[in-house]
Symmetry: C2
Subunit: 192 residues, 2 copies
């Protein structure tokens, strides 16, 4: 039922409603709109994943900087991660995240950190960004503050290629949950 | 001078400052950050253009829907256009555009439309979106309201492939002007 409503949207409605299924990347919804009609939400998700998959990724470990520079005009997967906010960062505290992120971080209990937890998270977030060149992304709604801290500490030790793929899996989990919310709100508008 | 400042930015600063050089597509700045150091702004712009060029585009006129569907997982160039706002649309009137777009449309005299101009623009915008599946994009700062109306009327008659390429040229002109503003503000912070 909701897929028919989605398939009948013009691009403006589509971007209004689905523009943030990948955080701060309305380009993705704006692009896959051309692929309607979608069979179902799984099919729609597949187009999102295909878009992300089609974004070139450099392999700095095996190529020299100069050949990489020539052969890989962009590193879109890391770009997608960089469009995500810090976990419990300043924007979350100021309430200026996208509504979806604000809610997800709040529901994970991140508005309820002790001074010590806040300090530790700030320190780990910044070590993570220095090491990988993108912020720590996790599907906060599937987690809680203790697990988030533990995961951040654990993933900080990953190799860069492994961590890029772990982080992208989290992006896809977030996308899945946001699509579920959209499905529910289309089927029962009173819920939103 | 400003290119050294840009090259020394971490990804968060870079996205803060350059995130909107392509309207509502921070993914592009977030991606090309990996390609630092840039030789100069022309080199930086080349990376933006390469990113856009690397986004697949379908050719519906020569391929069947099903083969297109399989072979072209995304139509990113049209997606970029769809991230742009209407010229003198509701968001402009409400002042909720990005600061850059708001200023560009204001400076083109679009806050100063007669009732008849507003009606005509609304009608043409909507005919354009129906015909092409993306909004009318023009580098407003290089134009004025009379020329914008004339251009919208003229481009509405273009063939879709021709119009896609015309519209993307406008995106690149806008990007160029926004980068010039950034350069000036970095060299003389008092200007912003």
């Amino acid at each position: 039922m909701s897929i028919q409503m989605i398939n009948s949207m013009d691009f403006e409605e589509f971007i209004d409603i689905l523009g943030n299924i990948i955080e701060n990347c309305p380009l993705i919804a704006a692009t896959i709109w051309s692929q309607r009609p979608f069979k179902d939400l799984t099919d729609l998700k597949k187009h999102v994943f295909d878009f992300i998959e089609a974004l070139p990724q450099s392999d700095e470990e095996t190529e020299s900087q100069s050949s990489w520079h020539r052969n890989n005009p962009n590193k879109g997967k890391e770009g997608i991660l960089r469009c995500h906010p810090d976990i419990a960062g300043r924007e979350f505290e100021q309430g200026t995240l996208t509504p979806q992120s604000q809610r997800e971080q709040r529901e994970a209990g991140l508005s309820d950190l002790s001074l010590e937890e806040r300090r530790r998270l700030g320190h780990l977030n910044s070590a993570y960004k220095t090491r990988f060149g993108f912020p720590f992304v996790i599907a906060a709604r599937l987690s809680d503050k203790a697990t988030i801290l533990k995961e951040l500490e654990r993933r900080l030790k990953n190799q860069p290629a492994q961590e890029l793929s772990t982080a992208l899996e989290e992006v896809l989990k977030i996308c899945h949950l946001r699509l579920e919310d959209i499905r529910q709100s289309l089927e029962d508008p009173a819920k939103l």
